[in-house]
Each structure stands twice: as structure tokens, then as C-alpha cells.
């Protein structure tokens, strides 16, 4: 187990380093420099370059960059809000994004679980078909389609919830974005729960438990559910990816002041420093979650660990 964890952590660190290298190379390739101002003369430009360390050899610049990134110094924004440290820009936005994302996962997991169980217990009935249709749609239709539809129907037409995010009504204005983000989570968990549950219900140990005379509820909650839900951790990886992509667009649609809309704004106004810094944060978050998922999976299912140690 120890060996496995160490191996995972080392791989994760290497990945993070590789990303930093890619980001650094891309930053060098970015068109234009922030000091392309016509009004600057050569000495002023040289002093600015010296201030930001741009006169150093490229290798030194890279190491400084890596050290700064890992220390949490992400540079300053040039366009969106001039000379504000990016860390400061992000600090106020991160909680909002995480809040909406967390709510989406919770809604999705709960509804998806119920839908999957319903489909499994009422297999081959109307309920099953209905749940399957919902989950197929949820998996294949992108979250911003839901976001637009919900915001038109419930925000614009019926006016049940605010169409745009407002700081006064955080809970109310998070409802629609959370629901639109949760669709993919809901659908994949429903699909997964159904498949696992059907398999577990048909297994020998369930037959044994039933023949021991256990009651229906105990049978389901103590035996079936527990075994069916363990592998659910495998769907976490695509979920994280979807939430990240989804949040960018959904935050823009509902104009939520989160990290996603900051990234979209930065892309649109060519604020490369912010784009690079946010890319680093997204990557670090993604790698961190993947690491936790991998390790959890190794703890829960030793077969995976052995297989991965083997190769």
C-alpha cells in the first residue's frame, strides 16, 4: 500500500511539473509582451524587465517561475484589473465556484442514486425506461443547454429564481446553476447505480441473505446498496472534468462571479497572466482530485492496487 501511494504521489508531482513547463513554454510563445508600450524608452523597459526578472537566462526564469507558482505567488493581472495580484482576484471567487460545484454534486448524486435504484428495482417497467431516457439525455446533452433552458423558463418566464447571480440572494440565485451543472452527475450516477444494483441483486450472496430470512429493507440497505455503491468512485473522474468545463460556461450564463467566469473573461480580454495562473490552479485541483480518487480506489479495491503495482 505504501509503495502504491508513494508511486501515485510521485507521478502526480511529475505531472504538475510537466504542466508548469508547458505553461511556461506557452507563456513565452504568447504574442506580445505586457511592456509593449510605445511611450517607454529603452532604459525604462530595461528596468521593468529587471524588476520582473525578464532579463535573466530562460532556465533561471523557469525555476523562479516554478518556485513562485508553488509558493502561491501567481503574478499580477495586466488587463482585467490592473496590477491586482491574481491570488487576490481568485481568493474571493473560489468559494463561490466551489459552493455551486458542491451543490451540483450533492443534487446530482442524490437524485441520480434514487433514479438508479428506482430503475433497478422496477427493471423492465415504465420507470426503468423513463430513468434510462433521462440518464441518456443527461449524459449526452451539455450542461449549458440545460442552463439556457432553465434560465429562460424559470428565470425569465416564470421569474421563480433570479436569472443573474446577485450577492443579496446567494442561495436563490445558485439554484438554477447548480441544477444545470448537476445533470451530468445525476445521469452518470443513475446509469452506474442501475447497472451495479442489477448485478448485485442477481448475485449468490443476495440469494443467501434472502434465504436466511432477512427482511426486505435490511437486505437492500445492509447488503445490496453497500456493495453496489463501492465502484461508484470510478465515475468521479469524468465528473470532475465535466464540472470544470461546465462551470466555465454556466458561470458565464448566470454571470456568477466565480473562477470560471474569470477565466472566460481573461481569455476574451487576452489577459494571459490570469489565463496561465488559472490553468495552473485548475490543473493542480484536477491532479489533486485524481490522486485522491486513485488512492481511495486502491484502499477500497486491492485488486486495482495489485494490478497497478504490477505494471
Amino acid at each position: 500500500m505504501k509503495k502504491y501511494v508513494i508511486k501515485r504521489v510521485v507521478t502526480a508531482l511529475f505531472t504538475l511539473l510537466a504542466i508548469t513547463l508547458i505553461l511556461f513554454i506557452l507563456m513565452q510563445l504568447m504574442p506580445g509582451s505586457p511592456f509593449n508600450d510605445e511611450k517607454l524608452n529603452d532604459t525604462q523597459r530595461a528596468s521593468l524587465y529587471a524588476k520582473y526578472g525578464l532579463d535573466q537566462p530562460i532556465v533561471v526564469q523557469f525555476f523562479r517561475y516554478v518556485i513562485n507558482m508553488f509558493k502561491g505567488d501567481l503574478g499580477v493581472s495586466y488587463k482585467i484589473s490592473k496590477n491586482t495580484p491574481i491570488t487576490q482576484l481568485i481568493a474571493s471567487r473560489l468559494p463561490i465556484s466551489i459552493g455551486v460545484g458542491f451543490a451540483a454534486v450533492m443534487i446530482g448524486a442524490l437524485v441520480g442514486l434514487c433514479l438508479g435504484l428506482l430503475a433497478a428495482f422496477k427493471k423492465d417497467t415504465v420507470w426503468d425506461t423513463l430513468a434510462t431516457i433521462i440518464s441518456v439525455i443527461g449524459v449526452s446533452v451539455p450542461s449549458y443547454v440545460f442552463a439556457l433552458a432553465l434560465s429562460y423558463q424559470f428565470g425569465f418566464k416564470l421569474k421563480w429564481f433570479p436569472m443573474l447571480f446577485s450577492a443579496k440572494d446567494v442561495i436563490g440565485s445558485s439554484v438554477l446553476p447548480s441544477i444545470s451543472l448537476s445533470m451530468f452527475t445525476m445521469a452518470s450516477i443513475a446509469r452506474f447505480t442501475r447497472a451495479e444494483m442489477i448485478e448485485v441483486l442477481g448475485s449468490d450472496y443476495m440469494l443467501l441473505a434472502e434465504s436466511k430470512g432477512l427482511s426486505g429493507n435490511k437486505l437492500i440497505f445492509a447488503h445490496a446498496l453497500r456493495n453496489a455503491l463501492i465502484p461508484i468512485i470510478t465515475v468521479l473522474a469524468p465528473l470532475v472534468v465535466d464540472l470544470m468545463t461546465g462551470s466555465l460556461v454556466v458561470e458565464k450564463i448566470f454571470s456568477i462571479p466565480g473562477v470560471g467566469s474569470l477565466l472566460v473573461n481573461a481569455i476574451q480580454s487576452n489577459d494571459y497572466n490570469v489565463v496561465i495562473a488559472l490553468s495552473f490552479i485548475y490543473s493542480a485541483m484536477y491532479i489533486g482530485i485524481m490522486l485522491v480518487v486513485d488512492i481511495l480506489y486502491g484502499v477500497i479495491d486491492p485488486r486495482i492496487r495489485v494490478a497497478k503495482e504490477g505494471d
Binding site: T11, A12, F14, T15, L16, A18, I19, I22, L23, L26, L29, M30, P31, V136, I137, V139, S140, V141, P142, Y144, V145, L148, Y152, F156, M163, R191, F192, A195, E199, V241, M244, T245, L248, V249, K252, I253, L263, V264, I267, Q268, N270, Y272, V275, I276, S279, Y282, S283, Y286, I287, M290, D311
Partner: protein, 351 residues
């Protein structure tokens, strides 16, 4: 010495008349009831049994048909603007008499909603925009289908290119095993750890968006999954007798990989390609939405959606066609891929 004389002699090549048919071919009984079917015939039969997959295939074909025929079906072009005819609601000849698609729309004002028909107010009795016209007076019908065309071309090209790359990578890694496999898998792990979204976004920031750069950027997103599948299949097959036989006959590694093993794993590969097409369509739409899509005046489904988004509360008909086409396209490709996966591998548990 006698042996060498035998060897130098011209070898005798048997002729057809040296052989005589023994037995009577008509006497051989073939069990027609349970005759073995070819693999692909069975796949088609299984695929046709799955209604959702057939429906998906029909939708894919219909949308593809319109994507290539649709833009030429009326006199408008995807970039032709007519500012005097902007923001017109959908109007279709003949159907307009039913009250639908007759060019009316509800406009919300401070005194409540009122119904207007801009075709009559602007004195345009003979003008028809089947899906309406947008903010610059461009025909949404033409733009939707030409956008669908661009999206489809980008998605299919990206899927095919990443199939070729991912497949070769996985097959080579799996076939050679050992150190080669170890190094290639470590590289893969690192590549997989990088969020694709980040890489695609950054690449398009550096290399300005265009059809080719978008295809290249999308290509980078799916090859990891493809190579995993190819490697797993290769590990299953490389110990089998036909590979051993081929190697004994002196076949080279590349011949074994691409001519012997590859035809046997084409099923899972095709399924994976079908799954990566909707992902590519989605990623392209996402990029357009954040402003890194196909440059104007060309349009894709994604750029149409992001244009329509700006006025979707006042003129909802502008965003509906591209969003419906995109949702249907992604749904259908997923259904087809699901059906194909089950048809190619009936043992697979349903998920």
C-alpha cells in the same frame, strides 16, 4: 553430391489437371438453419434490434444530409447580411397559414407583451426566413446547417486523427511491452493528468483559432482513451496462436501489429471513435462559447449558440435551431455508439 544435382533441378510445379475431385460436392450437407453467419452480419442484426441505436443513426444521417444540402436550399448564404431585414422571426411558406411560423413574435415591453409581425411592418410580403434572421439579417436556416457542417467536419476529422495516433501508440506500447511499455505508459499517465480543457484553451490562445488549429487542439483531448483501449486489446491478443504463427513465418513486428492484430480489434476502436465524436462537438462548442471558436464569418454550432445567447430572452428563436441540432447530434452519436458497443461485444454488461 547426388543431393546437389537434385536441388539444382527445376522444381516440379503441380498443374490443375494433376488433381481430381474426389467425392461429390452436392452430397455435402450444409445446415442452413444454423448456418454460421459472418461477424459483420451478426453485428448488423444485433444493432438493428436496438431501437434507440437505429433511431440515433437515422438522426445522424438526417442531420448530416441537411448539413451538406441545407445551406444550398435557399437563396441566402451563411455570411450574406441584410441589415434592413434583421431579427425577423421564422416564416415558412404555406405553413404560415396555420398560424405557426408566420413571422410573428411576442415582444416584452414595459406595458406587457405584444405580438408583432415584422414582415408586414417592414413591408416584406415575399421574404421568407425559414428559421428567422439574426441580428445582422443573416438567414438562420443557412447558418445553422453550415454551422452543423463545420462542427461535423471538425469533430469527425479530430476523431479520426486521434484514432490513428492513439491506436498506434497503444498497439506499439502493448506489443513491445517491457521497458518500452513502461516509458510509454509513464508519458501517458502524465498526459492524462493534464486537464484537456486547459491545454486546448491555451493552445488556441497561442495559435490563433481556425479550422485546422481547432482540429489539432481537439485531437489532443481523446487520444489517451483510445490508446488505453488499443493497448488492452493488444495485451489480450499478442499471446494468441495466430500471432505466434505469423512470427514463426518471419513476419516483422510492424506487420504483426498493423496487419494481424489491428483487424481483430477494429470493433472496440470504432466504438471509441463514435464516442469521441460527440465529445469533440461539445468541446468545439465550448471553445466557441468562450470566444476561441471558428473565426467569423464562418460559423459553427457553438458560435451560433454563443451569438444567440446575447439575445436569447428577446429573440429566443435565434438560439433554438443551433441548440436543438447540437443536442440532437450529440444524443444521436451517443446512442449509436452505445448500440455499436453492445452489437460488437454482446457479452458486455449493459451500462
Amino acid at each position: 553430391m547426388a543431393d546437389t544435382t537434385v536441388l539444382t533441378k527445376e522444381p516440379y510445379v503441380p498443374q490443375d489437371e494433376d488433381f481430381k475431385l474426389k467425392g461429390n460436392i452436392e452430397d455435402i450437407l450444409v445446415d442452413t438453419n444454423f448456418a454460421s453467419q459472418s461477424f459483420w452480419k451478426e453485428v448488423v442484426a444485433r444493432f438493428r434490434k436496438k431501437k434507440s441505436a437505429v433511431l440515433g443513426l437515422i438522426f445522424v444521417l438526417v442531420i448530416t444530409f441537411f448539413a451538406f444540402i441545407g445551406p444550398g436550399m435557399n437563396q441566402y448564404t451563411y455570411s450574406g447580411q441584410d441589415l434592413s431585414q434583421k431579427n425577423l422571426a421564422p416564416r415558412i411558406p404555406i405553413i404560415e397559414y396555420t398560424g405557426f411560423f408566420d413571422g410573428h413574435e411576442n415582444i416584452a415591453t414595459t406595458k406587457g407583451t405584444k405580438t408583432v409581425n415584422l414582415y408586414f411592418e417592414n413591408k416584406l410580403p415575399d421574404v421568407f426566413y425559414w428559421f428567422g434572421s439574426d441580428n445582422f439579417g443573416r438567414d438562420i436556416w443557412t447558418r445553422t446547417w453550415s454551422g452543423a457542417q463545420v462542427s461535423l467536419i471538425i469533430a469527425v476529422a479530430a476523431a479520426i486523427i486521434d484514432m490513428i495516433i492513439g491506436m498506434s501508440y497503444g498497439l506499439i506500447s502493448g506489443y513491445f511491452g517491457g521497458k518500452v511499455d513502461m516509458v510509454m505508459q509513464r508519458i501517458l499517465e502524465i498526459a492524462n493528468g493534464i486537464p484537456r480543457l486547459v491545454i486546448v484553451t491555451l493552445l488556441l490562445l497561442v495559435f490563433k483559432p481556425g479550422m485546422l488549429t481547432i482540429i489539432v487542439a481537439l485531437m489532443l483531448t481523446e487520444w489517451v482513451g483510445m490508446s488505453r483501449i488499443a493497448r488492452a486489446e493488444m495485451l489480450k491478443l499478442k499471446e494468441q496462436e495466430f500471432v505466434l504463427a505469423s512470427r514463426t513465418l518471419g513476419a516483422g513486428s510492424m506487420h504483426i501489429i498493423f496487419s494481424e492484430v489491428l483487424p481483430n480489434i477494429i470493433g472496440p476502436i470504432i466504438t471509441q471513435v463514435m464516442f469521441s465524436i460527440p465529445t469533440a462537438i461539445f468541446t468545439e462548442a465550448f471553445l466557441s462559447f468562450v470566444g476561441l471558436g471558428i473565426p467569423v464569418p464562418r460559423c459553427s454550432l457553438g458560435s451560433l449558440i454563443s451569438e444567440g445567447f446575447n439575445s436569447f430572452t428577446t429573440h429566443p428563436y435565434q438560439i433554438i435551431p443551433p441548440i436543438v441540432v447540437m443536442a440532437l447530434l450529440m444524443l444521436s452519436f451517443n446512442l449509436v455508439a452505445d448500440g455499436l458497443r453492445e452489437a460488437l461485444d454482446p457479452k458486455l454488461k449493459e451500462m
